[in-house]
């Protein structure tokens, strides 16, 4: 078992789920309630990471953010940020590829709140902000947890983008999925098996949480 890889994987998955959440809540709520003509375009763009091969996303990130590119050079010069072959780069790539996993369940949860409930809050004197905190977010809570759990599980299992953007630096960018690939290449099937089992268990636990919450939500609506 590569303990460093497990630590990087868990840290990356946890951090991605946590840091992606606020922006996703905002975006999902906007998508659920907005009548903007730009909405279909944004919804389509959000789903793109689901359809494209991870290597394609990884390739574009690598060429856009690499030190030789204008963006990469600007980030390095002005912010001291290196977004390829670094943990920060992995986190950034994780945000992009996990947007659909986080936003979709949230959007469905916000869309399920009847408009009249929101309006009842306003008529009851609650400001937009209080309506969000006291009414909308608690009602969308199962969606929040489902989005976070799916993002966590998907980040744990991500391989292509991680390899392209992060490379394979022990303790920094080598995640469990890359360590498994490494071990198989070295004919160390026992270690690969242990790590694979750990990934299966973690992903299964995350999915059980998603389904359990979905069930609870259905019961509440009845």
């Amino acid at each position: 078992m590569d303990a460093d890889a497990a630590r990087v994987s868990l840290w990356l998955a946890g951090l991605t789920a946590l840091t992606l959440l606020p922006a996703s809540v905002w975006l999902a709520r906007w998508l659920a309630t907005s009548a903007s003509p730009a909405r279909p375009l944004i919804e389509a763009a959000l789903l793109l990471p689901l359809l494209l091969p991870p290597t394609v996303i990884g390739f574009y990130l690598l060429t856009t953010l690499g030190g030789a590119s204008p963006v990469g050079a600007w980030l390095a010069d002005h912010l001291g940020l290196r977004l390829v072959f670094s943990f920060e780069g992995l986190l950034f790539a994780s945000w992009l590829i996990n947007l659909p996993f986080m936003v979709q369940p949230l959007q469905r949860a916000f869309a399920a709140i009847p408009r009249s409930v929101r309006e009842a809050a306003w008529v009851s004197g609650l400001s937009g902000w209080r309506t969000f905190w006291r009414i909308e977010l608690p009602l969308a809570w199962p969606g929040v947890l489902a989005g976070a759990a799916l993002t966590f599980a998907h980040t744990l299992g991500e391989f292509g983008v991680v390899l392209m953007v992060g490379g394979n630096i022990a303790g920094q960018t080598r995640t469990l999925s890359i360590a498994i690939y490494d071990r198989v290449q070295a004919f160390d099937n026992a270690a690969a098996n242990r790590m694979s089992l750990l990934l299966v268990a973690l992903s299964l636990a995350a999915l059980v949480i998603v389904f359990a919450l979905g069930r609870r939500n259905a019961l509440q609506e009845r």
């Binding site: 409930v117 309006e119 009842a120 306003w122 008529v123 009851s124 004197g125 009602l139 509440q220």
Partner: protein, 364 residues
């Protein structure tokens, strides 16, 4: 006093004007899609009409000319939604307390719920309450806001019949006890008649007529109103002035139809095609020919028993028209009225109300 005047062309056309005094209940009555709920949403600030003015006392909530548009939170409106729109994740107490502006919101909410007979159910969530109980929570929430105006959007539509009668009684009690302008949206005429002091008839977003239920039902302004308020005995005819300026002649159906003596208010031209209505209480049913004017021969064509009363259809001799009246089932059982037998119908001129055939445009 709540005064409402709203106009717009799209998306829902509106041309409505009415007011509601403190302690008064005004019913907005019209068919589905007539714009009643849209009007209520305009009053609550959930949407803004293109033009007009909405004010509660001295406070202007909306004014199209000065672009005044207060948000719902600034309007002090209590609104009971059609399906209540309770907060499903909160207890009845929290639902009500959230709307209370007082420092002691919880005890204020508990008081209101106790007044609604829900003192024992304050910790239940909406899904654990019956339709009638949910409606009471929604009403308590609307009152917790300490509103200047109470709005009720079809509040009884989701409640079953037995619970509805109990809720009618409670709302009537509340109406007597609270000095607020109250606006009730309903498509149920009986509900409006039973609860409201005044009715505003709305169709296509336009107020067609307003008045007490008795006024609107006995003197609909035009044929459209008569149709909307479901007046059964609604006919057509031709009007002529008489020799006596106070009296005119109404020819039933056509110029050749049987004539009735009617009051002449000099609002209708000679020979004009008219619609006319006559409330049931102004029609007498006799087995032998009575004295006086406006007696027509008819035949009891059908009697549909409805418990203690029966809906009877009388066909007028020489006419295709039929008059529908409720008679007691006892009269039928005693043989005072027999299906197929002739009768005499006498029309009291005081109850015959004549209207121009074409609907008049609404006032702007």
């Amino acid at each position: 006093m709540l005064s409402v005047e709203v106009y717009q062309d799209a998306p829902v056309p509106l041309a409505a004007r009415f007011d509601c005094k403190p302690g008064e209940m005004v019913a907005l009555v019209g068919p589905s899609g007539s714009g009643k709920s849209t009007l209520l949403r305009c009053i609550a600030g959930l949407m803004h009409p293109a033009r007009g003015r909405i004010a509660s006392g001295e406070r202007v909530w909306f004014d199209g000319s000065t672009r005044t548009r207060l948000a719902p939170q600034e309007r002090r409106v209590g609104l009971v939604f059609q399906h209540y729109a309770l907060f499903p994740h909160l207890s009845a107490l929290r639902n009500v307390a959230l709307a209370s502006p007082r420092d002691d919101a919880d005890s204020h909410a508990a008081d209101l719920l106790a007044r609604m007979g829900l003192g024992q159910l304050t910790s239940r969530r909406p899904s654990e309450l019956s339709g009638g109980q949910q409606q009471r929570v929604a009403l308590a929430r609307a009152l917790a806001r300490e509103p200047e105006v109470l709005l009720l959007d079809e509040p009884f539509s989701a409640v079953d019949q037995p619970a509805r009668h109990e809720l009618y009684r409670e709302l009537a009690e509340l109406h007597r006890g609270v000095a607020l302008p109250m606006v009730l949206v309903t498509h149920d005429l009986h509900e409006a008649r039973r609860l409201a002091d005044r009715m505003v008839i709305i169709d296509g977003g336009t107020t067609l007529q307003q008045g007490t239920p008795a006024q609107v039902l006995s003197q609909p302004r035009n044929a459209r109103v008569a149709g909307l308020v479901g007046i059964q005995n609604h006919f057509e005819g031709v009007f002529f002035h008489g020799d006596d300026p106070q009296w005119g002649r109404l020819c039933w159906g056509s110029r050749e139809g049987p004539q009735l003596l009617v009051r002449d208010k000099h609002r209708i031209e000679e020979g004009a095609l008219v619609s006319w209505v006559v409330p049931a209480e102004f029609i007498g049913v006799h087995r032998s020919e009575p004295g006086g004017a406006n007696v027509l021969r008819a035949r009891l064509a059908e009697a549909l028993p409805l418990g203690d009363i029966a809906l009877c259809r009388f066909e007028i001799e020489g006419l295709r028209a039929a008059v529908q009246l409720h008679q007691t089932t006892a009269q039928l059982q005693r043989g005072e009225l027999v299906v197929g037998e002739p009768v005499f119908l006498q029309f009291d001129p005081a109850g015959v109300h004549i209207m121009p055939r074409r609907a008049l445009p609404a006032p702007h």
